[in-house]
Amino acid sequence: MPQAERRERIFDGAVQESKPENEKMKFAVKAWSKSGRARVGLLQLSSSFAQGGPPAKEIEIETPALLLTTRKGLPAFISPDHLSSLPSPDSRLLQFSPMHFMEGPNSNTISTIGGVHQLLGLPDYGFIALPRDSILSLPECSSSNKHGASFETPCGRFLVKPLEYMKMISSMKPDLWVSLADEVHASVTVKRNKASVDRTIRWLDDCISLKSTDGALFGSIVGGSSIEERQHCAQEVAKRNVSGFYLGGFGLGDNVDERSKLLHAVTDLLPKEKPRQVCGLGLPEEVLQGVAAGIDLFDSMYIYHLTLGGFALIFPLDGKCKQVWDSQQIAMGSDGTKINLKATIYRKDTSRIVDGCICYTCQNHTKAYINHLLNVHEMLAQILLEIHNTHHYLCFFRVIREAIREGRFAELRHTFIENRRDYLLAASLGSRVL
């Protein structure tokens, strides 16, 4: 953007007026699954308010949706030009943690630049600020205290108080933001867990009284593995003036088998017309579990970890999840949902990761080439894998939405999990035969 124009926008941004909470973001449930919890919703953001500039087009995203997890606002390896080639509008929600910017740029500089949309050169994207993520900003509950929450980041451990957090939020101007929470590990004592609920509610009140931003607020709900604490927290948060909810404390040592119970206990108490976000549920099974409990927004740290490990997602996206069992793939330790492109069998494999996939990677490159890039530790391997995996996972969410709309969600979830179980069984039998 030319300098003059950029400056003008910043100026406009300074005189923006505060909008009432219900106009910052719109959300409507469009369809329910038979079980009554999983739902398809429509999330609408008007991207213009964050910069205050001329009315930009609205971002309309159907939920359940994947928020792209970022490092400092951009996906780890996908540059903005390739970002725009991902399915749209599905890929237009980016999640970041204000803690990513602890080492800079500082709040004043980000404010001068005009907030995260300008900082990242993505005015047409929706940005969601969340204190924690599962990559660069991990809650460090043993160091959190009554004054603030502690986070472990690549540039050290930080204790963040509500006032500092709100200063960051108001300079960054995200479309949505999550209140500061005291997220604790599942193993903490009953007393510590109770304290985390009290703090999280108090910090929500602090955030509400300190806020000076137009972004829509999602109230944090914690409570660890205690149903009572979670329900208490959910009821308190639901009383506040919030646009949506964030369910914290998952993916922090919690038991996957008990998770559905906890999720249901919370979502059943929340008003149906407001969106719910979660962090830490990454695997396809976990996403399906979350969707079944009525969660609308998920993060994509799973993609990041797959990509770093050299994995590519391959599970079918026809909604039936029928697998073709390939004995070679089984031998390479594939679980039927993903393959490891570092494996020697791909050395001469000139096929695409997924036949018929329209992502940039599959349209342009072979498994053999990515295998070579991984072997020689070239960054292009991660770029290509993150593009494909993100594309594939966004399509998975599309399949989930279709299934809910067509009343097949429970069936989809069941088939997916059964197939994976069968595949792993076949793999174990196969290895025994070999």
């Binding site: 953007m1 300098q3 490092r71 400092k72 951009l74 780890a76 390896f77 540059s79 903005p80 030009d81 390739h82 910017f101 080492e103 800079g104 740029p105 500082n106 004043n108 500089t109 001068t112 630049i113 900082l119 990242l120 050169g121 690549p154 050395r347 001469k348 000139t350 940039y360 342009n364 490159h365 072979t366 053999a368 080439y369 070579h372 890039l373 072997n375 020689v376 070239e378 960054m379 292009l380 991660q382 770029i383 290509l384």
Partner: protein
């Protein structure tokens, strides 16, 4: 036999702007060629390389022969197809990489002997083998195996290397199996000795090769020796063939060499320096790691049209560089864009007859106080480019 067409479209004294038609792409010179050592330019997709305007990219034979091996590349249809690069490619002979990367490399009449980095066994790269490997990789331009000697070395070794390079060129020509699809360039050696350089040029020109490279430079010699070798070689190489100065990549060196009549350049500098957080700008370099960048809300270069300069501030790049993969991706993108824009500007200013103005403008940006190095002034005098308006040291 040659698989290229070289048409000079415009000249300014010794400088020329040409159209170089290669089997996979028609490129325009003067031209910077980015180095993609292992079948990729670090951190950039081929789509981005096309957007940036890259026309020819380099692959390193030594690295590709190790992994994924030239046999595999051949089996999968050549390097163009393997990396999905539709435009032109150039591979080096592999000899230089061996001598510079391996401690135990030794050059004999037969070839370059070295210890295999895989199993430690003694190996030999002959001129025949280098060409065979490059034939398998399938680049538009392949380079003869030469006897590389550091320019800082003096004495009989330089003479030996020059004569050996000439003996080896015949073995390379004889071994070249795909002259209709690949162009074999000979490399002028001879250190800093004008007599040896002259003998080597004459010897190579007699072989009537599709193009010629000036080798053995950019190895720590002083700048005055450097430009004089380039000037001498370009003066005696044929007008109708492309001239490639190997390993040269600083913007200033490219401008000087182009003024002296060179056409092609390659260097890892723009992408390597990007990974260390340095951006190329008209004023020289911008170190984005520097603390002063942390609150700087300007783009890297307000005159640059690249994606990175249109979208990002120095402050944001400051927090990415040397820490996040995205930092080196974005800086490499800008730096290569800068080099390709420099190439385009050289080409168009020569064609439009505004080459001296372009050079003066370039020097004024880089040396705003007028302290243009003396070697540049000397080279420009020989090139017949008047830079007195931007040159205040007498």
């Amino acid at each position: 036999m040659m698989a290229l067409r070289f048409e000079v479209l415009g000249r300014f004294n010794r400088a020329r702007a040409a159209r170089l038609t290669l089997p996979h792409f028609t490129s325009e010179t003067p031209l910077f060629m980015p180095v993609g050592t292992q079948g990729t330019i670090k951190g950039l997709t081929t789509k981005q390389l096309e957007e940036i305007g890259c026309q020819i990219i380099l692959g390193n034979t030594y690295h590709l022969a190790l992994r994924p091996t030239s046999e595999l590349i051949d089996e999968l249809g050549g390097l163009h197809k393997f990396m999905n690069w539709p435009r032109a490619l150039l591979t080096d002979s592999g000899g230089f990489q061996m001598v510079s990367l391996l401690h135990l490399a030794d050059i004999t009449e037969e070839g370059v002997t070295f210890q295999s980095p895989v199993d430690g066994k003694p190996m030999l790269l002959t001129p025949e083998e280098s060409i065979q490997i490059q034939n398998r990789i399938g680049a538009d331009i392949i380079m003869a195996l030469d006897d590389v000697v550091k320019t800082t070395i003096t004495g009989p070794r330089i003479e030996e290397a020059m004569h050996r390079t000439l003996r080896w060129i015949d073995r390379c020509i004889a071994a070249h199996k795909r002259p209709r699809e690949q162009n074999l360039f000979g490399i002028v050696q001879g250190g800093l000795d004008p007599v040896l350089r002259d003998l080597c040029v004459q010897g190579l020109v007699e072989r009537n090769l599709p193009g010629y490279a000036i080798g053995g430079l950019a190895g720590g010699e002083d700048k005055d020796s450097f430009w004089r070798v380039v000037a001498q070689c370009t003066a005696s190489l044929p007008e109708t063939k492309p001239r490639y100065v190997m390993g040269v990549g600083y913007p200033l060196d490219i401008v000087v060499c182009s003024a002296l009549g060179a056409d092609m350049y390659d260097c890892v500098y723009p992408t390597r320096t990007a990974r260390f957080g340095t951006a190329l700008v008209p004023g020289g370099v911008l170190r984005l790691k520097h603390q002063s960048m942390s609150a700087d809300t300007r783009p890297i270069d307000s005159t640059c049209e690249c994606m990175v300069c249109k979208k990002y501030t120095r402050a944001y790049l400051h927090c990415l560089v040397t820490k996040d993969a995205m930092g080196s991706q974005l800086l490499s993108y800008h730096n290569l864009y800068y080099m390709m824009q420099l190439s385009r500007n050289l080409h168009s200013s020569i064609i439009q007859g505004t080459f001296p103005e372009f050079v003066c403008n370039f020097l004024r940006n880089m040396f705003p106080k007028g302290d243009v190095p003396e070697w540049v002034c000397n080279a420009m005098e020989v090139a017949g480019v008047d830079i007195s308006s931007c040159c205040h040291n007498t």
